[in-house]
Structure formats: structure tokens, C-alpha cells
């Protein structure tokens, strides 16, 4: 038997196409518990590689022979070793190139919709981390919202589409992942926007993203307009694109709402969050399609791989939008908050430009789930 090498892109296709896969995860138990490759029809076995140094015989009965088996570890080395041991036992096995590091970095661009005059809206789904970024393309121009740090992915995608990146936005100062926004802007000459209330400590230049700001993309003037919606952070801003789409940043997700505690105290911002979700968003058209900056669980993916739902549906189904009692709402978003994302304080420092870790450190800081939401 020979050992096969799979790319993160191949695994991403399995997730989106709803295929079966058996994952043998050979990382530490707590690493696996904290975060793993999620798929609708994936099955798992977690045995740390160091328990397999003397051989894999003991786990063979637990591995299926009628399904593909993918061995996964943190970086790659241990999964190669274990996959080779499986092959020696006559089992088909593959390993994930680059391990969980490459899974965390992989972006799958999925088209959300066609816009007027050949315009397009893309969602970049970062399956391994639950981050969602956006690109509006129209007649040779592009605007990007909430870009993650893999700047080449966005720059090359725009290039392939023959579009020049003109505007780059961050809906807020992110705490769960490192933004690529200002680097893309620097490389392409685009304008970089950030809400000034989130930017009091940043050490770079930016253009203020304020309520009512409006930019047009391309000759057909696809509308991108800003709506001040604080609550996750004090500066959090949403976007309405082409009167059809509502980019909610980390304020509203498909099955949860933004947590108000990652840049300060939950008590301080819970009122803003309430006001945004229960007043500002209520004034918007229910037909708007909500496009958030994150998803939490794989079930939030639609069949085509996008994460998108009508605002009207969320008003009906999202628990966080249906807590009538203010006091209960306050308790929901301040008590029982999930653990804070890994390294969130240092990630904020990076996004403020205060520290510049190397690539390996950035990968390390972003390991793990995003945990920006409260349910």
C-alpha cells in the first residue's frame, strides 16, 4: 500500500460536498477536544501518535476498511509516520499535507451571488477557523471586507478576475484572527478603512469607517454602505451591499450572536449589542441576506458551501434575536460566556500594529476555534 498526500483543498471539498471521511487524529487529546476538522459526515478516532510508536496493530480494528482514512496531526510529521505504519499493515491511508496548520489557513472562495452587469459577490470560507471574508467585484474593481491574513489569496483572486482592489474594510478590530486588511491595501494601493472607535490604539494610518459611509464598486456602482452597529466591539460596523446583502461582522451570526467581552467588559457593551440587534437591525428589510464574519459549527453551511440566511429567518429562528426580556438578554451574553479565543489579547495587539510576530507565531496564535459568539 502506498501513502497518499491530501491537500487542505481536497478535504475542504469533502466537507462542502457532504462526503464521508474517517479521520484518525494523532494529536494530543486536549488539542483534539479543543478543535478538529469538522464535516457533516466525518467520523473520528483520536489516538496520540506517541501511543502508536510501537505499532498500530491495536487500533486496526477501529479503522474502517470501506471508507477513506485520513491521518491528521498538528504539522504533518506524525501523520506521515502513522500513515506509513498503516500502509505497512496493508491499509490504505492518507495524511493531510501541512497538518492542522494548513487546515487553519485554507480559504475556499464560494460565490454568493451574481450582481448587476456581471458583478459578483464572493465569500471566502476559512473552514478550519470559521472565518468568513468577502469580496465584491464589479467591472474591474473590487472591495474586500474582513480579510484574513492570507493576503495573497485575495490579491491573486482579484487578479484572476481582472479586478483592481480599491477598498479594504474591517468591520471591527478582530480578536480571534489576524487581519490581512491593511497589508492588502498597502500592497495594492487600496484604501483601508477601520472604525475609529476600535482604532484608538492602532499605530498605522487608516481611513475612518463611519456610519453612512458609502463607496461604489465599478462603473455599475455596486453600493457598499456602512451602518454603525456596536456591541461586539464599540466600533463594530455592518455593511449593506447592493441593497441585498447585510454583512454583519461579528454582531450577528446564523445561529448565535456576537459576544461583547473580547475587548473589554461585557457589561459595558451589552446595551449597545441589544440596541443593534433589537432596534437597528429591526429597521432593515427582512429580505436582506445576512452574511456574517464567522460560522461556529459546520451545520451553518448551506448546501453550496456558503454561510448565508435571510434576515427575516434569523428574526424567527436565532435564539439571540428572540430574548424579549432585557435582563435575561443581559444575563445570556454576560454569564456563561464560552472560553475566550486562544491568544485573543495578543491577536488584538497584532491587529493594532503593536507587535509583528513571524509567520509561524501567527499560525500558532490562530490555532483553535474562533469563539466569537454567544448562544
Amino acid at each position: 500500500m502506498t501513502v497518499q498526500k491530501w491537500t487542505a483543498a481536497k478535504v475542504a471539498r469533502k466537507v462542502i460536498d457532504n462526503e464521508e471521511l474517517f479521520i484518525l487524529d494523532v494529536r494530543n487529546e486536549d488539542a483534539f477536544q479543543d478543535w478538529k476538522i469538522e464535516g457533516h459526515k466525518f467520523e473520528y478516532l483520536n489516538v496520540p501518535y506517541f501511543e502508536l510508536l510501537d505499532g498500530v496493530e491495536e487500533i486496526l480494528p477501529q479503522l474502517p476498511t470501506d471508507k477513506e482514512v485520513l491521518v491528521v496531526c498538528a504539522k504533518e510529521g506524525s501523520s506521515v509516520m502513522v500513515a506509513e505504519m498503516l500502509a505497512e499493515e496493508g491499509r490504505e491511508a492518507a495524511y493531510l499535507e501541512g497538518g492542522m496548520g494548513s487546515w487553519s489557513s485554507y480559504l475556499e472562495p464560494v460565490k454568493v451571488a451574481n450582481l448587476d452587469n456581471g458583478g459578483e459577490l464572493y465569500q471566502f470560507v476559512r473552514l478550519g477557523k470559521g472565518c468568513l471574508s468577502y469580496m465584491v467585484i464589479s467591472e474591474g474593481e473590487a472591495a474586500i471586507v474582513d480579510a484574513v491574513r492570507f493576503t495573497d489569496d485575495f490579491i491573486n483572486f482579484a487578479k484572476d478576475k481582472g479586478a483592481k482592489i480599491k477598498h479594504v474594510f474591517d468591520t471591527h478590530l478582530h480578536a480571534d484572527h489576524i487581519s490581512g486588511g491593511r497589508h492588502i491595501a498597502a500592497e495594492t494601493g487600496a484604501t483601508y478603512y477601520l472604525p475609529p472607535k476600535d482604532a484608538t490604539e492602532v499605530v498605522f494610518d487608516y481611513t475612518a469607517l463611519t456610519d453612512g459611509l458609502n463607496v461604489k464598486v465599478g462603473a455599475s456602482k455596486i453600493d457598499v454602505s456602512a451602518l454603525y452597529t456596536p456591541g461586539h466591539t464599540i466600533g463594530s460596523t455592518s455593511f449593506i451591499i447592493d441593497d441585498q446583502f447585510l454583512l454583519t461582522g461579528d454582531i450577528l451570526f446564523i445561529d448565535s450572536i456576537g459576544r461583547p467581552d473580547l475587548a473589554g467588559l461585557a457589561e459595558d457593551w451589552v446595551g449597545d449589542l441589544r440596541e443593534t440587534l433589537y432596534s437597528r437591525y429591526r429597521e432593515l428589510a427582512e429580505e436582506l441576506v445576512v452574511l456574517p464574519a464567522h460560522f461556529m459549527i459546520i451545520d451553518e453551511l448551506n448546501e453550496n458551501g456558503t454561510v448565508a440566511r435571510r434576515l427575516g429567518e434569523l428574526f424567527k429562528e436565532n435564539h439571540g434575536l428572540n430574548i424579549e426580556d432585557e435582563e435575561e438578554f443581559r444575563r445570556t451574553v454576560t454569564d456563561n460566556l464560552p472560553p475566550q479565543p486562544n491568544s485573543h489579547e495578543r491577536i488584538r495587539q497584532v491587529n493594532m500594529g503593536k507587535i509583528i510576530p513571524d509567520n509561524d507565531e501567527q499560525t500558532e496564535m490562530e490555532i483553535g476555534p474562533n469563539r466569537c459568539a454567544v448562544r
Binding site: N28, P48, F50, E51, L53, C73, K75, G77, S78
Partner: protein
Amino acid sequence: MIKADHHLDAKGLACPMPVVKTKKAINDLEEGVILEVQATDKGSKADLTAWASSVGHQYLGTVEEGDVLYHYIRKGSDEPKVEKAFERIISFEELESRDGLILDVREGAEYAFGHIGGAKSIPLGELESRMKELDKDEEIYVVCRTGNRSDLAAQLLADNGFTKVYNVLPGMNGWNGKITKEF
């Protein structure tokens, strides 16, 4: 610098090699000795910790110097249940109100990664030759990890004319108070 009996250079090696090499190296060692593993793979800390506890070695701790991680592991942590021979024993609670010297007879590396503040370190193996550092008129409370080595140490001291010697039980793995680290 922390004292180790053996050194393993796993610098520049990626996972799984630091654990593979450590496993191989520790096989050739005697129970109770300290192995220092030098590695540059950041993941080696979590992996060696989990591996050591899964196979019954005692992971002591890690010191970071520049890019290099120095891990310390003591071979075999499951000490056999020996009948303790030294009769004068004392608990941590009783110890609190007493004056005297706490003598820590674990290996230097174990001591370095966490001991009771003010405790003096003389590993069991060095006790015979360093006995003169101790005062026969002082109360001496001997502590180790589980109470076995301190039992042997207390007997050795008593045989050499120390009269106010106590074995502290259960030992450092039952200590919930503050610990001091010293590298």
C-alpha cells in the same frame, strides 16, 4: 542550569522525532535518573508531557532559552509501594507551626521545578557525602515526592547521629501550598 544525568539533542527535529528519540534514549536509562531533552519544536512540550504521563515517566518541566526548549524528565514515576521503615513522621499541617530545616532529597531538577520556599536541596544520592552541611541539633524535616526517598534519607541521617529527624508524608505530590521555582 538544571542538573541532569543525561542529555539528548533533538534540536532542529520536527514532530514526531523529539518524542521518538526521547523514548529510545530513556529506555537505556535507570529508574529515577533525569533526562534533559533539548528541542526546538514548540509542540514538543505538550507532547512530551502527555507522552511521559501515558507511559509512567515523570515530566518535571521545561526551561526556554532563546529558541531552545530544555525539557526535564525523570524516568519512571510509579514508585513501588515500599513499607516505610522510619517511624517519626509528620504531616504538612503539623509542619506549619514548627521551626527547623526542610530538607528536600529529590533530584536537583525536581527541586528546581517546584519546592517549598526555604527548603534545602540535597538529592538522596549525595546525602552521605554532604551530611556535614546539616546541623545535628536542628530539627530536620525530610521531604521527597512520595515519601519513599525521604524515608531512606531519614534512616540514613538517624544512623549517622541525627536525632531530630522527621519524614514528611505524603510528600510533595500531596503539597497544595505555594511552590518556589529556581533555575
